[in-house]
């Protein structure tokens, strides 16, 4: 593979962006809908669960270091049993993952910013960018993420500072009113956005120059930062917008950004703040896309995944327009079908991998 190497720091940033990705746009709304002012609680629990999951995924990765998820599957199940499993993973990463995230972007743009522009042109433009990025390789992507990171943080911090004058602490009270089941449900929903998809990061981790504990540290740290940013924005949404407005907003974060008004001077800058979501969403899509394309290349045993980028990009165009017929379907699907679907790939299959790996070890002994 001529994808180059990425440093631990870069992996951390990619993990962070991947964790935040689409979640930061959608999660607060759903959470406020189910557990009202306690929306922060599932995020906290979710972060812990996600960290545990990441540790677990890295453990799978460490079974065969230097191997990507696809190669691990092949090692464990052999070529013929492994292939269908890999195919399923590709379908989820490529069709469902990047397709749906791309739709989020289009939906966000067409509801909030430019409603008269047909959604497909946003997709097309982003896909071109996606293809450029993927063709230039993981190293380029990771380094770009590294460069963007300070700007990104700066924007996020500015965002937090700018909305904080409008905080009304009352809005978080009464605390811990929510019951157990809704909390569990919303934790699950959080993990399904930010936790389970991390399994696809296993396609990237072998390219990292760090190994073992260092890799683990960076990966978990990236995860944690991403999670914390989601936590902060969720809390801010509730504190500033209130539960009701948060849950009724399609994109509460954007509604939050619209509230920014500092000294009657720094205001109306939500479009600038939207850069946060453009960037994190882009990296989420590109990781999915890269994982899908690379997995396909490894499955078919071709040396250079780049030949696949254009055809896959074209397919993604159709898929992204097809996956969700409308935005209410999107919301419904995400809260119902998506959860068990991604849980299968983020939990059931990994458990199976570990079981098989242990079994194999046992047998060979």
């Amino acid at each position: 593979m001529d994808n180059g190497k990425i440093s631990g720091h870069q992996l951390m940033i990619l993990t962070m962006l991947f964790t935040m990705g689409s979640s930061i746009l959608v999660v607060p709304s759903g959470l406020a809908g189910t557990v009202q002012q306690d929306a922060w609680l599932p995020v906290v629990v979710g972060i812990v669960v996600t960290l545990a999951l990441s540790w677990f995924y890295l453990y799978i990765g460490s079974l065969y270091p230097d191997r990507t998820l696809v190669e691990i599957i092949e090692k464990l199940f052999g070529r013929w049993v492994g292939a269908p499993i890999t195919l399923l993973f590709i379908v989820v990463a490529f069709c469902v993952g990047s397709g749906s995230c791309l739709y989020y972007l289009g939906d966000f743009m067409t509801t909030q910013i430019m409603p008269e522009t047909p959604i497909q042109y946003f997709h097309l433009l982003y896909i071109l960018l996606l293809i450029q990025g993927t063709r230039l390789g993981l190293e380029t992507l990771a380094r770009s993420a590294e460069i963007l990171f300070p700007f990104f943080l700066l924007l996020v911090i500015a965002f937090i500072i700018f909305v904080s004058p409008q905080i009304e602490t009352d809005r978080l009270q009464p605390m811990l009113e929510a019951e157990f089941k809704p909390i569990l449900q919303s934790t699950l929903s959080y993990v399904s956005f930010s936790g389970f998809p991390l399994i696809f990061m296993l396609m990237l981790t072998p390219a990292c120059t760090d190994r073992g504990k260092r890799l683990q540290k960076k990966f978990l740290l990236g995860n944690l930062i991403g999670g914390l940013l989601i936590l902060i924005t969720t809390i801010l949404c509730v504190l500033v917008l209130g539960v009701d407005a948060t849950s009724r907003s399609m994109y509460p974060n954007y509604a939050l950004a619209r509230k920014i008004n500092l000294f009657n001077f720094i205001n109306r800058i939500e479009v600038i703040m939207a850069i946060i979501w453009f960037v994190s969403l882009f990296f989420k899509i590109v990781v999915y896309f890269y994982a899908g394309v690379l997995a396909m290349a490894q499955l078919l045993r071709i040396e250079n995944y780049r030949v696949l980028t254009f055809p896959f990009g074209m397919m993604l165009y159709v898929l992204s327009l097809m996956v969700y017929p409308d935005s209410s379907f999107m919301r419904h699907w995400d809260s119902t079908i998506w959860v068990p679907l991604i849980a299968t790939f983020g939990l059931v299959f990994p458990l199976l991998f570990v079981a098989v790996a242990i079994g194999k070890k046992f047998l060979t002994r």
Partner: protein, 412 residues
């Protein structure tokens, strides 16, 4: 690499060429809307949708020139059954598409408010073009359209006048409350809080105020003023608080930034106090399972104007004035609470939410019948007023006058 480069470039160009520009609006194709007014005749099933459009050329033409003779704003009216339809139907009148992101005020007429604002507000939060930073107000004894049509002095755009006047009066005078759309929505949804909106009315000769000749007169024939707060129950306007009660409301809602109020002197006459700071703390206490609302106000003020003979050098006087002031604020608040509890039976103060925060379990039980419970919840008000300074002078000349006279008498 070369091929990719070329291809991406050409594709980009092709995409951009064929896409055209759907969302593009040139600046000179915009009609910037300053304010929207909504009226309804009693019993009619159509709304009257009025917009105030800013006449850009006139506003920004420096030193007159071509702008002379044109009004700085134009008002269009359209009958409609829904807001969105009205907005779009207005294109049959307006030469350009209305641009709403810079809207400052949404004015609802009293009739509309009495019938319920529910069917009106949704568009303004759903459409992406509206921003959440405009204020919602209700007219009193006049039509929203007429408010929009009044020429305003000094500030060329009436919508801006309304906007800044509301902000200023909230900051320095207190009996108005600047409510944004999302706050209205939040209290519409909330079980434990009812919405309020500031009232606006036209004083003077409305018709004369609609003529641009009004601008040329030293004394405007009519002007737009804010008066009191309109109380809602659900989405319907049920009544008004007068100026003092409105102030009381704002004390509870922690909206008082600065205000001015008279307080009785130890003897006769008044001292006018400038309130410089006030913070309120509303809590619910439970006694025998029954909720009780405790309102604690901490206020600081300066003596602003002395209209009586009082010795301000005496710390005891200040103390006395403080007690009087506390009494007065308490009275104002009590009156506001009384009116809300007994006359309008509408929990505009959000006591329900306070109880919810304090005891969520109890709230779950009663939230359904909160409207019936609310009038009977006892409210305890506790005011702590501190008078800090007395302005740039010590004693009033009134006091000195008396002292001088007394001295003269003694010398006699």
């Amino acid at each position: 690499m070369k091929r990719t480069f070329l291809l991406v470039l050409t594709m980009l160009l092709v995409v951009l060429m064929i896409t055209g520009c759907w969302n593009r609006r040139e600046l000179n194709e915009l009609s910037i809307v300053g304010a929207i007014g909504i009226d309804k005749e009693p019993g009619a099933d159509q709304y009257m949708f009025s917009v105030q459009v800013i006449n850009q050329g006139v506003i920004s033409s420096k030193g007159g020139g071509e702008g002379i003779g044109q009004a700085s704003v134009t008002t269009f009216e359209m009958e409609t059954s829904s807001m969105f339809e009205g907005m779009r139907r207005l294109t049959t009148v307006s030469p350009r598409k209305l641009y709403l992101a810079h809207m400052r005020m949404l004015i609802l007429s009293e009739e509309v408010a009495k019938e319920g604002v529910g069917p009106i507000l949704d568009l303004f939060s759903r459409d992406h073009e509206y921003r959440p930073d405009f204020y919602v107000i209700v007219t009193k004894d006049t039509k929203a359209g007429d408010v929009l049509k009044q020429f305003t002095q000094i500030e060329k755009v009436p919508a801006n006048k309304l906007f800044s006047s509301l902000e200023m009066s909230e900051k320095h005078w207190a009996p108005t409350v600047a409510v944004r759309l999302d706050e209205v929505e939040a209290s519409l949804v909330s079980l434990g809080k009812q919405p309020v909106l500031t009232g606006v009315m036209v004083r003077g000769d409305e018709r004369a105020g609609e003529s641009e000749k009004a601008l040329q007169r030293l004394e405007p024939p009519a002007y737009v003023v804010y008066t009191g707060i309109g109380v809602f129950r659900g989405d319907k306007l049920v009544g008004w608080l007068n100026e003092e009660e409105s102030k009381g409301y704002n004390y509870i809602a922690d909206n008082v930034k600065s205000t001015v109020g008279p307080l009785a002197c130890p003897q006769k006459g008044e001292v006018i106090l400038e309130m410089i700071r006030s913070s309120s703390n509303v809590q619910a206490k439970f006694q025998n399972g029954k909720p009780q609302i405790q309102i604690k106000i901490k206020a600081e003020g300066n003596v602003g104007e002395v209209l009586c003979d009082v010795d301000l050098q005496d710390p005891k006087t200040i103390e006395k004035l403080e007690r009087n002031g506390e009494q007065r604020i308490k009275q104002i608040i009590q009156r506001a609470v009384d009116k809300a509890q007994h006359q309008y039976r509408s929990d505009i103060f959000g006591f329900g939410e306070v109880i919810h925060r304090e005891d969520a379990k109890y709230w779950k039980k009663i939230q359904g019948e909160w409207d019936e419970v609310f009038p009977h919840v006892p409210v305890v008000v506790d005011v702590d007023l501190q008078i800090r300074r007395t302005g740039t002078k010590v004693n009033s000349y009134l006091t000195e006058m008396r002292k001088a006279r007394e001295k003269a008498k003694e010398q006699k």
